[in-house]
């Protein structure tokens, strides 16, 4: 009896190691194939060891799951919230088109998409508008009385809060934007250092994929 217990224990340890090394489901036969002919466990013993493994995972960060192609170890849903933070994607940068659209809405509000397109000289994708609406930086404040009744966009309180402004007045007047080249250089420099700071983190992230 005690021999039997030892044997189950031994199989269970090997199965746990194999399932973790595989990182994918293994069938009963694949698990049995880990052994040479003379030490291969019966299906029954294999199942008993798997049951024992399952029980031993109680209260841990992972559990044994049976899926179509066999058994696999899976991170428990109870810790998914924390684990998901591992995979948070680095926020992408917004496109230049989006920033131009946002700037025009801020400075020329209320403004329609058609008017933005007239100034930019290119069309504004629905995605950009949707992103700005979803982020709650702009909202529709009415419709212009022209064919199609296009929506007029304006910036929101959230927009002001995000950029730490108490009112739009705190944005530099258009006339000053002409002298932005100095600010531009400053920003370039800042972006540069940011990129450099970000670099070391990147390989590790990549390696995880």
């Amino acid at each position: 009896m005690s021999d039997n217990f030892e044997e189950v224990r031994h199989l269970q340890t090997i199965f746990e190691g194999a399932l973790l090394a595989a990182g994918r489901p293994l069938s009963i036969d694949q698990l049995r194939a880990l052994f040479t002919d003379d030490e291969r466990p019966t299906r029954q013993k294999t199942l008993r060891a798997l049951a024992s493994l399952e029980a031993s995972c109680a209260g841990r960060g992972f559990e044994l799951k049976q899926v179509a192609s066999g058994y696999r170890l899976q991170v428990r849903e109870e810790v998914a919230l924390w684990v998901s933070r591992l995979f948070e994607e680095r926020p992408a940068r917004y496109s230049r088109a989006l920033l131009e659209t946002l700037a025009l809405i801020a400075y020329r509000q209320p403004i329609t998409r058609g008017e933005i397109e007239d100034i930019r000289g290119v069309s504004v994708s629905s995605n950009i508008v949707r992103t700005l609406l979803e982020r709650e930086w702009v909202r529709v404040v009415g419709h212009r009385e022209v064919p199609g009744r296009p929506a007029m966009y304006a910036t929101t309180r959230q927009f002001l809060d995000y950029f730490n402004l108490s009112s739009l007045d705190q944005l530099p007047p258009l006339s000053e934007i002409r002298n932005l080249d100095d600010i531009g250089r400053e920003i370039e420099r800042k972006l540069q250092t940011e990129v450099e700071l970000e670099l070391p983190a990147t390989p590790a992230q990549d390696a995880g994929q």
Binding site: G23, V75, A80, F87, Q109
Partner: protein
């Protein structure tokens, strides 16, 4: 060169340098586990030869070790002869030897010739003894050859040990929104304005941002389609400037035909409503 001198080299290389379980090479598709011992050496085996050594230093080390010699006690004449035999064999077989092998041959020849000359008292100015230099390089190379072997003996991921990983459960998706810098925003604006050549437009410069902001606020307040009294749009706490801004905003909205100002009779309250919402309501009624 003679076959006699190359034969043993080939044999011993096969015995010492190659892992026993893996074939040395494939000759016409057939695995070659040891190099033929007969006089004829197939060219493929010599190619294996080239692959077996990591360069002239490696070959020299092999020749030295084969004789159980300490590097410091190298018999340069003997080693040079063996080395030259090897080079000659390769050349005879028209194998392209890396230039390093030929450079080494020249170095060895120089050392040998120096040793034939009567040794003069060294003065300090003289350059490094080429034999000492060679020995230093051999020692140095041997150290790292050994270090590479040690490295290969270390446990390696997925060969000797395995990292554990488990499948993921269903996970909440978390979206992280990009950050935007005010500077970026202004640069974008500058770009678009430059393209649109709006800097010269008087219209753009005349309106202050607070007016445009107020225009949006008024439109938003009227968005439900109802009337607002003229007075309710003004906030006395804002002072004179606030009143002026609101008034300019109303004028601009009227000019752009976005709002309608209604007064039913003289001295009656003035009401404002959004033209667009009005149309919307009316079209609904229809």
């Amino acid at each position: 060169m003679t076959d006699h001198s190359t034969g043993p080299i080939v044999e011993e290389v096969a015995a010492s340098a190659a892992p026993l379980d893996s074939p040395l090479a494939r000759v016409s598709g057939k695995a070659l586990t040891d190099i033929p011992k007969d006089l004829y050496i197939p060219p493929d085996a010599l190619a294996v030869f080239l692959d077996t050594f990591e360069g002239p230093l490696d070959l020299l080390l092999y020749l030295i070790r084969r004789q159980n010699m300490d590097i410091l006690e190298v018999d340069v004449s003997d080693i040079t002869r063996q080395y030259m035999d090897y080079i000659a064999t390769m050349e005879a077989m028209r194998f392209e030897l890396a230039a390093e092998y030929l450079v080494m041959a020249a170095t060895l020849a120089e050392i040998k010739s120096r040793m034939l000359l009567p040794r003069q008292q060294v003065d300090d100015e003289e350059e490094l003894d080429p034999r000492a230099e060679l020995i230093r390089r051999l020692q140095q190379y041997e150290r790292f050859k050994k270090a590479a072997e040690d490295l290969d003996d270390l446990p390696q991921a997925e060969r000797d040990f395995f990292t554990g990983s488990a499948a993921l459960p269903a996970m909440p998706t978390q979206q992280v929104l990009p950050d935007v810098d005010m500077g970026e925003l202004l640069l974008a604006l500058q770009g678009v304005l430059r393209r649109a050549d709006l800097f010269t437009s008087h219209q753009v410069e005349r309106e202050t941002l607070s007016t445009r902001e107020r225009m949006s606020a008024i439109l938003a307040a009227l968005a439900n389609g109802g009337f607002l009294t003229f007075e309710s749009l003004f906030t006395p706490e804002e002072g004179r400037l606030g009143v002026v801004v609101t008034f300019l905003a109303l004028l601009e909205l009227v000019k752009e035909q976005l709002i309608e100002v209604v007064q039913t009779a003289m001295l009656e309250p003035i009401h404002i409503r959004s033209r667009s919402e009005l149309t919307g309501m009316e079209s609904l009624r229809l």
